[in-house]
């Protein structure tokens, strides 16, 4: 036995396990996506067993592409993921830079800032949609009501009364509606995941070279130039990490969508897969393959974009 065979033999079980772990689900999905396979059918009981004799070719893919919800689901997935990424990265950088300066109570503030990340997604969604965003019972309803009352009071005030009487009454927004439910999901997930971005950026900021900053100060760089030319490039790798990890997580958002609107006008790909999987496993698998392709495209473009804009 050569001296490289033994280590390889010893590694084999782990490598095999990983391969199986990845390949079996993927190949099963691929297989199911090319056959007719449903969970329950009185008319065609032979379709309830996965079998190569039920071969459908690209029929499942065609069926999914022609489904009225499919394009919406892709658009929605992209809208939700990109918006969340955009806001979490922006808020994450702002907050991380803000709390990087030392001030009394910084430790407590940091712990508080991280805490949203420990809330379960479903709990997070229930809290936001019922207690904060609800147009009647939530904070939103109270705030809009209070604003309206304040404007009402000001209408009778001297001097400024004329100005305020031109203002309309504000109506609270229903975040369970078809048009707005995606926004609700974006808000609540942004709230939950901003701490993740803050955490990553904060640790990265602490490793920033202070002498570089001093050199930049002597070179005449103001606060903005220091941020733009030193801090932001320094953060480019952590930003890439945050974007990549979050893209993976948010392409598979499910709980929030289910709780906010039960997918009403607000499906994303996982939710569509879930709906198909109620009966039509073949179509669900085909959608799953589309999701894999979409995830790869998104990751590819996002990473290239970040690499280009931030690296000088």
């Amino acid at each position: 036995m050569s001296n490289r065979t033994l280590p390889r033999l010893l590694q084999t079980p782990a490598v095999l396990l990983l391969l199986i772990w990845m390949l079996i689900p993927l190949s099963m999905t691929l297989y199911f996506s090319f056959i007719r396979y449903v969970l329950n059918s009185l008319r065609r009981p032979e379709w309830t067993k996965p079998s190569i004799s039920n071969w459908r070719g690209f029929g499942n893919y065609e069926f999914v592409l022609n489904n009225k919800d499919f394009i919406l689901a892709i658009q929605n997935s992209l809208l939700i993921v990109c918006s969340i990424l955009f806001f979490t990265v922006i808020f994450g950088i702002l907050i991380a830079v803000l709390i990087n300066k030392s001030f009394p109570g910084r430790g407590v503030v940091r712990v508080l800032l991280i805490s949203p990340f420990f809330v379960m997604p479903a709990v997070n969604a229930v809290l936001w949609i019922n207690m904060i965003l609800d147009p009647v019972l939530g904070l939103q309803g109270l705030a809009v009501g209070g604003l309206n009352d304040a404007i009402e009071g000001l209408r009778n005030a001297p001097l400024v009364g004329g100005f305020f009487s031109l203002w309309p009454d504000f109506a609270p927004i229903s975040f369970r509606a078809t048009q707005t439910s995606a926004i609700a999901v974006i808000i609540m997930v942004t709230w939950q995941w901003t701490p993740f971005a803050v955490l990553i950026f904060m640790t990265s900021l602490q490793s920033e070279d202070q002498q570089q900053k001093e050199a930049a100060i002597l070179d005449g760089a103001g606060a903005w130039s220091q941020f733009r030319f030193l801090t932001l490039p320094h953060l480019s790798r952590p930003i890439a990490i945050v974007v990549m990890i979050q893209a993976i997580f948010h392409l598979s958002l499910y709980a929030e969508i289910e709780i906010v609107s039960r997918g009403n006008g607000n499906k994303n790909l996982p939710y569509l897969i879930g709906e198909f999987a109620n009966n039509n496993i073949g179509a669900a698998s085909a959608t799953g393959i589309f999701a894999v392709i979409l995830a790869n495209i998104v990751a590819f473009f996002l990473l290239r974009m970040i690499g280009k804009t931030l690296m000088e």
Binding site: D209, A215, L218, H234
Partner: protein, 334 residues
């Protein structure tokens, strides 16, 4: 122009006063070296001049202008840091051009000055590399280039050579000295290495615990150190200090004799001792002599041909005119 004046400058961090009131004049075109052991406040002093630390009291004047409250970028000084502090995401070209870009110079002017600096520092082939792809010496030159293009009234160097290996350090030392001779700009250089101080400086400022112990040219400090600290700090190997009757005979509390001012003989001499270690450097031999009854160890510097073994008896004679005398407070008796 570049005459820097410090008057009654102090610096405290909280309750700790790291620099007690201090006065110093740095003349235009002078190469001044701040030297002292680590923690002596030399870097703090440099940062006060640069404006990176605020003075607790006192005034700093550059060319007659009070700059104590002026922000660092407006003082017209350029600094080279120990870690070089290059911007890692920018190419060498952009690094060097950065101060001009911040000052809003035209692209043509920027390119022109970058080329001039790169030529004088042998960096032309590396302009499109990132700092991470350069060697230590090249990074050091980029940092100097970034300082040069600003055409500053004075250069500040904060231990710029301490991250380089010994051979490179000697080379860079020469390059910086040559640069000073060519540009005739005021330079302030902080180091803990007395060799760098001796070889480069027009004027050495020896600091200890924030206090200036002595200011003078390298040879002044070598020939007539004003106290024990300066005597011990300047010169390598260290000066030998002798106390007791031998010192009292010469009406002093402590005698200082440099290793190179002691003559060696196998037959006769003023003092007798036993050789413990002899270090052969080729050109010189350093003998460490014990059992002299004068001090724990006397270090003697002789020519490289002499060879003594461990345990040899040796006779030593100091050159009387080169013996320094210090009083009980450690001050020089002239």
């Amino acid at each position: 122009m570049g005459r820097i004046l410090l008057e009654n400058v102090t610096k405290s961090f909280g309750d700790a006063q790291v620099i007690p009131p201090l006065d110093l004049v740095i003349d235009d075109g002078e190469f001044t070296v701040f030297v002292g052991p680590s923690g002596c406040g030399k870097s703090t002093l440099l940062r006060l001049i640069a404006g990176l630390e605020e003075t607790s009291s006192g005034t700093i004047t550059i060319d007659g202008l009070d700059v104590t409250q002026v922000p660092p970028s407006k003082r017209g000084l350029a600094m080279v840091f120990q870690s070089y502090a290059l911007y890692p995401h920018m190419t060498v070209r952009k690094n060097i051009a950065f101060p001009m870009r911040m000052a809003g110079l035209s692209q043509a002017e920027q390119d022109k000055r970058v080329m001039t600096a790169a030529k004088s520092l042998n960096l032309v082939d590396y302009l499109d590399r990132k700092p991470g792809q350069l060697s230590g010496g090249q990074r050091q030159r980029v940092a100097i280039g970034r300082a040069i293009v600003r055409d500053p009234t004075a250069f500040l160097f904060d231990e710029p050579l301490s991250n380089l290996d010994a051979a490179l350090r000697v080379g860079m030392r020469l390059e910086i000295s040559e640069m000073h001779k060519r540009m005739q700009t005021t330079m302030i250089y902080v180091t803990h290495d007395q060799v760098e101080a001796m070889t480069m400086a027009d004027k050495i400022v020896v600091l200890q615990a924030g206090v200036i112990e002595q200011v003078g040219s390298p040879l002044e400090l070598y020939r007539s150190p004003c106290n024990l600290f300066v005597a011990g700090f300047i010169g390598s190997p260290k000066m030998n200090f002798i106390t007791g009757t031998e010192a009292a005979n010469r009406h002093a509390h402590t005698l200082g004799v440099r290793p190179e001012h002691i003559a060696v003989s196998t037959q006769t001499g003023a003092w007798t001792g036993r050789v413990s270690v002899s270090e052969h450097l080729g050109s010189d031999t350093f003998l460490h002599v014990h059992e002299t009854g004068l001090a724990d160890t006397l270090t003697v510097r002789t020519n490289g041909e002499i060879s003594f073994k461990h345990g040899d008896i040796i006779h030593l004679t100091p050159r009387e005119e080169m013996v320094h005398r210090f009083d009980a407070a450690g001050l020089r008796i002239s």
